[in-house]
Amino acid sequence: MKYSHVRAYGLATMVVAVVTQAFAPRVEAQRGGPGGPPAPITPRASAPIDLTGQWVSLVTEDWRYRQFTPPKGDYGSLPLLPAARKIADSWDPARDEAAGEQCKAYGAAGLLRLPTRVRISWQDDAALKLETDAGTQTRLFRFGPTRADAGGTTPAGERTPGGDWQGASSATWDYPQAAFAGRGGGPAPGGSLKVVTVRMRPGYLRRNGVPYGAEAVLTEYFDRLDVPGGDSLLVVTAEVVDAEYLATPYWTSQQFKRETDTSRWQPTPCAAR
């Protein structure tokens, strides 16, 4: 009997501890003070990592493809379907220029592969803005569901893939698995920004005309990794799923280094070559 008491009180203590932990972040988030109305926690306020600032590409992989425009038909490493090869093999930068389509390599699925500087800032409490000096592009990562009005419509009222190279992005904070399992206490020390982008205007995965299509879905994870005693890195792990042109999901990861000297920000227009 005595043992049962001990065991029962132990169980109760555990449960109370779990409940306390489950409440703790919420209480932390309310910030309204005792008796006051709870203030809604915003994505900005709940950010587990700080991605804001200026970052510069470290083009250390696929260097030749990214620092230069590769020759036509040079699409090594890419899991292309025949339809994609057919388009890539007919790539004509002069035609893109003539059509005013010189930004095709600067769409969301290819933008962060380019050598560029990136500025990330909060546009408001629920949207992060990412700007690049290469091509002078802007992406908006809005927390919450994708806006229904993103993209465009045809005169007949059909939804088009998007009127914008950067498509429509929805963002969420992605936390470590164990944190969700309720271990430990206090706010999460880390996490990722997850961004899903759809309705992109068809563009190029690689400057030399390797295409992605209107139905492509880009899923990205933005991780900030601080090297002990060294640089702060931004690593963007990206997956492009495109049943029209890709045989498998196309996975890459791009790294950037934080810059405190922002003087090298040099906006340039898109270039098709």
Binding site: L11, R26, A134, G190, L225, V235, S253, Q266
Partner: protein
């Protein structure tokens, strides 16, 4: 009891309402080293980046995106991929930064304490080269500077946020890029981040290499989770004869400025040749503007060492222990390496007296003796010298006087020995017997060393042997290596070779031409070591080599050192054959790709002295 149950029920109700009714909240932090992410399982690499490098291999002069310094660039330009046909290079594993980019499957699993279930380590097995990494999670420190290096290095990890952060030191030298010679030195350190997003694992590697990189090299590798064991984990390799009748002092390489394929890459892809050679700037958006100013003159200048400047100096920190203490490193079985008093010391223990190879510089002899006494209660019975150099014989007197050789009292030799001639035989019960090649004795006597510090038990020809403390110990004379009295001393059962200054990990070989040293002899001696070694697995482990200075090595370090000496010899020889003067050879910076590792411009043994020794040696046909 009833109250407790009620409390439990109430808590569960509140908990359920809380979890169901709310949006995801800021989650709590992982505690201690509880895994923030589970990396266990089977992982396959995604090859959507750098497929050419990771598959068929990289092209010569495709060094873009790598922040290599001048030494790294020249090392790569000198590299001939056929070097891997040399026997000792054939089965070498990959260094960790490249291993993580290799083809083939990966497997990760946790090791936990059987009783506490505390996480001790995370293991990673790579199919290619059967690369087994252990990432220690138990807070243990990294080994000292004089500990051996491996291709995987020594790794410790901790979870931080949503990442596993791993720090790796003690890697061997190897390829930072596969197949085209971009090097990573044995001084490189690695920081890694493992981040998992669902079935997608990203590994970010940050390599810092003071020898070959001007800033850290950052790359990221992607893997996807495999639901079942792919069942292919082995990577068998044995070396063999690939090119017959090649001299053992031939190492494929290209002289500076003579890399014949340097323009192929740029021509094929319509890229300026300089683009691949400019180092750190090639990683950044500034590359395109930088290339606008790169002309043919600059490009050609990048193919050879920059002239009109002094040699670079070593960027290595802490290569030799100089903290005023003597440190013991167990090598294998009953063999130990002692570091701290000048040259490295080897101590073999057993039921007989200690067998000591080299005695250090003599500045810390009391500490050396104290260290030996922690290893054995028996006195030092034998001291063998690998050469007469003072960093190895300076402690002879003190260590010898502290020893005794019980094999001599009562023997005929002691009774019959003329007193005062050999010194030690006069009172063997109070002095260790000292052994060396006879030229060590001659050089020490000529230098006026006291009799008690001069080996009396000498040998004249190519081999001396002795069975002691259960091991066969062999001395192999190496004529005209760094001096004319060098010996390699091999503990056969323990499979440990004391190399003396024939091999170090810290400096160019101290080829003492005036005392019989020669560059050809040095190369022969290094090759003699390589003829005696057997690696355990994928080009590492197996026979241990105790260098005259620096860290405990195996055949890989000797091999790279041999390659270096051969390559520098070839460069000097080419200039000698072309009629160059010593000053012209020095001005050509023939060691430019090795100076950030071994270079010294002041002190008792400088880069110029090494080049001069090579020059004079070759001029004299040695």
């Amino acid at each position: 009891m009833r109250n407790a149950r009620g409390l439990v029920c109430a808590a569960l109700v509140v908990l359920s309402a809380t979890l169901i009714g709310q949006a995801p909240q800021i989650p709590p932090a992982p505690t201690g080293q509880a895994p923030a992410i589970d990396l266990s399982g089977y992982w396959a690499p995604v090859l959507h980046e750098d497929f050419m490098e990771r598959g068929p291999g990289s092209e010569i002069a495709d060094y873009g995106g790598f922040p290599i310094n001048e030494a790294g660039r020249l090392w790569a330009l000198s590299y001939d991929p056929s070097r891997v046909t040399l026997r000792h290079h054939q089965c070498e594993a990959y260094v960790t930064p490249y291993q993580m980019r290799a083809l083939g499957n990966f497997r990760m699993w946790e090791e936990r304490d059987a009783h506490t279930q505390r996480l001790l380590a995370i293991h990673l097995w790579a199919q290619t080269t059967e690369g087994h990494r252990v990432i220690w999670m138990d807070g243990r420190p990294h080994p000292p500077a004089w500990a051996p290096h491996t291709f995987r290095g020594f790794s410790t990890g901790q979870f931080k946020g949503n990442a596993l952060i791993v720090q790796t030191t003690h890697m061997k030298s190897g390829a930072l890029r596969r197949g085209n010679g971009v090097p990573q030195s044995d001084q490189a350190t690695l920081t890694e981040f493992f981040v998992r997003h669902g079935d997608h694992l990203t590994n970010v590697t940050v390599v810092s290499d003071p020898v070959f990189l001007s800033e850290p090299m950052v790359r990221s590798n992607d893997y996807y989770r495999q639901p079942v064991d792919p069942g292919a984990w082995l990577y068998a390799c044995d070396d063999g004869e690939q090119i017959l009748d090649r001299p053992d002092d031939a190492v494929p390489h290209y002289l500076f400025g003579k890399q014949p394929y340097v323009r192929e890459f740029g021509t094929r892809y319509k890229i300026p040749v300089a683009a691949g050679l400019l180092g750190a700037v090639t990683m950044y958006p500034e590359l395109s503007s930088r290339l606008r100013t790169a002309n043919e003159t600059e490009t050609n200048a990048l193919l050879s060492p920059a002239g009109g400047r002094p040699s670079e100096t070593s960027k290595v920190v802490g290569g030799d222990a100089r903290d005023g203490n003597v440190h013991i490193l167990p090598v294998r079985d009953n063999v130990y390496m002692l570091v701290g008093d000048g040259g490295n010391i080897v101590v073999q223990t057993g039921d007989q007296g200690a067998f000591v190879v080299d005695a250090g510089e003599g500045k810390l002899s009391d500490k050396v003796l104290a260290a030996i006494r922690t290893l054995t209660n028996n006195p030092i019975q034998f001291i063998a010298n690998t050469s007469f150099r003072s960093e190895h014989t300076g402690g002879n007197g003190v260590l010898g006087a502290a020893g005794q050789d019980p094999s001599l009292p009562g023997s005929f030799f002691v009774q019959a020995a003329p007193r005062g001639v050999t010194g030690f035989f006069s009172d063997p019960s109070s002095h260790a017997t000292m052994m060396a090649h006879v030229n060590v004795q001659v050089r020490l006597q000529a230098a006026g060393a006291p009799a008690a510090a001069v080996p009396a038990d000498t040998y004249l020809e190519d081999r001396r042997r002795k069975f002691h403390n259960g091991d066969a110990i062999e001395f192999f004379y190496q004529p005209n290596a760094v001096t004319d009295g060098d010996s390699l001393i091999h503990f056969r059962r323990a499979d440990v070779i004391a190399a003396g200054d024939i091999f170090t990990t810290t400096q160019y070989p101290v080829i003492d031409v005036k005392n019989g040293g020669s560059i050809q002899g040095e190369i022969r001696a290094l090759n003699e070591i390589l003829k005696k070694t057997v690696y355990r697995h994928q080009g590492e482990g197996g026979t241990y080599i105790v260098p005259g200075h620096g860290y405990l090595a195996d055949e890989h370090e000797v091999l790279e050192y041999r390659d270096m000496v051969v390559i520098v010899r070839d460069r000097v020889k080419a200039m000698v054959d072309a009629g160059a003067t010593l000053q012209q050879v020095k001005a050509a910076r023939v060691t430019a790709d090795y100076d950030t590792q071994y270079g010294v411009n002041t002190g008792p043994w400088t880069t110029e002295m090494f080049v001069e020794a090579a020059y004079n040696s070759l001029k004299n046909g040695r």
